[in-house]
Symmetry: D2
Subunit: 368 residues, 4 copies
């Protein structure tokens, strides 16, 4: 496996490079009968599209998705759904000199080490454009989840040292940084403007919350729901850390403060009085909100001068040209949302057979 697939039953396979013909994905295992249009996908792609504000690359791409297979009369047929976004605005010339050297913080050196050579144009396969395929597939997962009443919502939690201090869901789409706190967004904008002026870049944290997740989803041991979420999030380029629920802060908590007490409400519903666990116990969803966070590094492509080496083995200084975001966090919000949805969708399908009663329900009673 060259690692371009993800998921066991709800399974996507992506392809495409930054400066190739396009970027695409095949999603296999989507249940038949789900209403699906290109518009359902496009709304998510529009959220990650470049060229939307002054903090994103000036590359102009309409990033229009085409569904090539797997739907009929507006519904999924159960067969693979192939989608493509054609590349349009490829300034390959911008990248001509990076063929000869290794950019710090990029995968240039490791691609050469692994494959012997690389498609150096715009980062090739390790470009941020690869996430288009994740978002297109994730949009289908999100559509399926919504049919089950499950919602997934990600937002920027912090940029540099600016962290949100309040939470207003309606505000997330209101600012260029996808922060649920207008004041924090304002402060973070100042930080970014400064970084750009210094030909520098900054990092940040994306948080994702899942509402209305049924209990009992995910497997014990290796296919824990949180283990797969961790893999999904770290597989996004630039992510260097992942937390579930309280994350690393549990390391300084005690058992008594960290344990979430179960409680039966007057109406018989079961809740946890707190949610330090982030909705997952023993790798299986517990019915509370699932909460995950991903820590993104600063964009490695900075315009200031840097030391590195070239392919001839010489120490050189470089200045990276081309069009790059000073921060990946804001555009990564929808990617985090989509990767989370993909993990949940797959776990829901895989988990259908956990009980013999369910098997009987589907195969025996279904026929009557």
């Amino acid at each position: 496996m060259a690692g371009s697939s993800f998921g066991t039953i709800f399974r996507l396979t992506t392809w495409g490079e930054s400066h190739g013909k396009g970027v695409g994905v095949v999603v296999d295992g989507v249940p038949a009968g789900l209403s699906l249009s290109e518009e359902d996908i496009q709304v998510y792609l529009d959220r990650r599209k470049p060229g939307q504000n002054r903090f994103t690359t000036k590359r102009k791409e309409s990033d229009t998705v085409q569904i090539l297979s797997g739907t009929f009369e507006g519904k999924t047929t159960g067969t693979p759904i192939s989608m493509v976004v054609w590349n349009e605005d490829q300034h390959s010339k911008d990248y001509s000199d990076i063929a000869s050297y290794y950019r710090p913080g990029h995968a240039d050196y490791t691609f050469d080490a692994k494959y012997g050579f690389r498609d150096y144009r715009g980062g090739g396969r390790s470009s941020g454009r690869e996430t288009i395929a994740r978002v297109a597939a994730g949009a289908i997962a999100l559509k399926m989840l919504s049919e089950l009443g499950i919602t997934v919502s990600a937002y920027t939690r912090s940029i540099g040292d600016v962290e949100i201090q309040s939470f207003d869901a309606a505000e997330i789409a209101n600012n260029a940084l996808n922060m649920p706190d207008a004041e924090a967004a304002e402060k973070a904008s100042g930080l970014l403007t400064k970084a750009m002026a210094e030909k520098n870049s900054v990092g940040g944290v994306v948080e994702c919350v899942v509402h209305h997740m049924p209990a009992g989803v995910g497997d014990p041991v290796f296919e824990k729901l949180d283990a797969n979420l961790a893999k999904a999030l770290v597989s996004i380029g630039a992510v260097k850390g992942v937390e579930i629920g309280d994350g690393f802060s549990v390391c300084t908590a005690t058992g008594l403060t960290n344990n979430d007490a179960f409680h039966v409400n007057a109406d018989g519903s079961i809740v946890k009085l707190t949610n330090h666990a982030g909705g997952i116990l023993g790798g299986i969803s517990d019915g509370s909100d699932i909460v995950v966070r991903a820590g993104f590094k600063p964009t490695p492509s900075v315009a200031a001068s840097q030391q590195t080496i070239n392919k001839d083995g010489e120490n050189i200084a470089i200045e990276i040209k081309g069009r790059h975001d000073p921060i990946v966090v804001a555009r990564a919000v929808v990617v985090v949302e989509c990767m989370t949805a993909l993990v949940l969708a797959d776990a829901l399908l895989v988990g259908m057979s956990a009980k013999l009663d369910n098997v009987k329900k589907v195969w025996a009673l279904d026929e009557k």
Copy 2:
């Protein structure tokens, strides 16, 4: 998949419950010709064994491994290696009352939600004893890595708010907490003694460093080396966060401070002048040390009184009996080491075919 397998080529499948007949693992895909004895496995199992000091459960288990298949005359044959550790000291009566309620911070509730019922004795499949199988398999991975000159070393980085201030590799095995800093270990011991007195527990962080990893291992996109490390570590019960290299601290760094400059030494060797990336770029090893961290929550089984619900849907107060560690971190060190080794061993085998030159080297030139 009920999720009891891990890895693509170097692939383990584990089984067993805390109070069943034993715990075991089948490791498929181990290359033929590796020297392997039960002693090679036992040394790692001994490091995670309970009953070793006052901070670990008083359960007495010799945890002696038996190799049941896959070796011949002291070498692996390429066929599956089955290993078992029989359970000995099972105080099933200790757990009889937990059949009726859901322990906070445990998987009791979620197992019932998923499967309809559960083997409640000692946590069943979600018990820490499940990690025996990971360690037995990991020991083989470590043996294989050592043949390639790769070493993996984990240790306790912090317990509660006590973090190591110095690093002495020789000290790791010298103290009960596996800390490379004797002074920190002393302070942490005090913290644990206090927690036990308060019928409470604490969390901490395990760090793992890999030396002499060749560059070019791991796949881009979904099977990134760090993505699989993240999955592997979060799949260990009690882990709530994972970091690679500088981890979450990159979120407040800038591109210029976080990028690692490549440098050619006088002898022609290529290095990075810093290693914020933790040895992985674009999901592929870069030849620097690989550095990962896992954040563990406090042991959820605490002896103090807690609120919860029983299976009849009543709110109750419980006091958990049985034998439990006030901290899982120290015993988890070897588990982190083994899970890291399993990811690396698999990535090395999967990655052999990345270049056509390698394919020719193995299949064509090999015959001459």
Copy 3:
């Protein structure tokens, strides 16, 4: 993957050699709530056990199965079911000379070519004893299928040139050759007696029929139900051909004679008026009986003298000693039944999510 696992959700992993400590299997993904005892497994193992009549190897093994995990109070828990059969009667000395040469028709040469050396005792991993693990796992699959009203029945269709001429299900267990035709069994016995006298062996065909299979199971394209059945059957050592429905005889049929007409009965039930297709159309079950056949080669271990080579590269003549069946077909009947059941069980679980309606049925309505 060293190839010791089979299935996507209902997934088994086998281990063990002919003359190692035992043979075992871990079955992951069995739905929780299935009644299961060792006796359920043992009845199938007893059907393949050696030493039962004059046509089977004289090796004496009780082949008693132990369930080591995955059940609790008589039911499967959804966690991996580990089973073992310990080896007892190992005459390793019988095999001492085969260490030095390559038996014709055996895997000795190919194991050496692949792994560099081999566990030569009794065929090691390529011994027929490996099928114990398949049968133990298959017994669980058969139990699950029976809960859904599906039955699987295999029998010997032919031995050498003796083919059954009539079909009496009750007769199958009545004769040593598992033929549903007493007269044919008598004739085949004569054939075998003659072969044994000539230190020779014979081949034959096993047929397997599945009753009450629901329509709609199996996937199009690569995971066709018949494709997986073909793989399952050819994966049994000694099988050199597989047929579904009319098999190779369709090659000389015409579209008009081979097509099965659909028909609606007076009660509204849908049937096919013929079943040339063997119950599978486009890789998906059609509700008719599934019919498959596997062609077995004669036992390669014959006592008569044969030409071969030794490890020193010399041409030699050998006479194989040890205890071998003059035919594998009769004992393979239960193996074919089990492999068929494993494919069906997995396809039923994988196929649960094919329709969004089913997903909703399990995850949404289930909660109410």
Copy 4:
């Protein structure tokens, strides 16, 4: 998994329907550094293209392949290779009435049973056009095999009761039926002409031979090379039987006649004096030619009147319109060749890590 992927490391994922926008495939895991052009693929697609002679459907498609990703400057980069063939000549109206009924011998009924509805245009996903994707991927596998000196060659062995009596490799491409025997091809043409006149169709057998396969490829137990070949071939629509080597004729052979004697030649090379086994022993290649056969049923779409049912549950008579081949065998020859190549390519890559020596060769010595 909806079953649209095949292979473990050299892994393809196909998509597309007969009357959708196109048919495509993503091939992941192809080693970097393989020379590859669209022309390399096109030559194989041209061999399966419709409209080439009077025995193939009159549908006119240029079936021109486009490579969308995964190559750079004429070589594979190790990243996924996406290929597409756009549909051009879609007479969707021809199929409008088949929306309402179930064609005998087709997957119409089973698709509805599985998914609840179907894309009925031209068979949708179960159309023969799906094999375009297999051939495009197979062409890459064949290119890789040729770099290792391995050749794969398939041909028509029989059509109806006309079987080849001689073998002339040069003749295969000379006649419309891909038979290596001009006389047999002439006779078979007569048979087909007669079938067409009778609005009927016929079946046949394709044979495939692999030359220069190294010994030691394939895994024991479930991932036997022949088991995967069987799956690959039966996964081709219309295949109802598969044979390896002597196939079903071994059932009437004896051990002494069926065993292939190993022999050392004067030059030290090891051969088998016969090849009844078809080049595979114990699931692993033995260095002899690999020989497999697939039995194809007659095209189910015949123009003569047939009985069936419609979706309202009524018994009706139908006459299938549209453009259909009276035989699938000739066009399936290249598909068999490609599926065989895909199995071998994957087994070669998976098998690289079977020996520790190979692992060392790739990862350790490679660096020096």
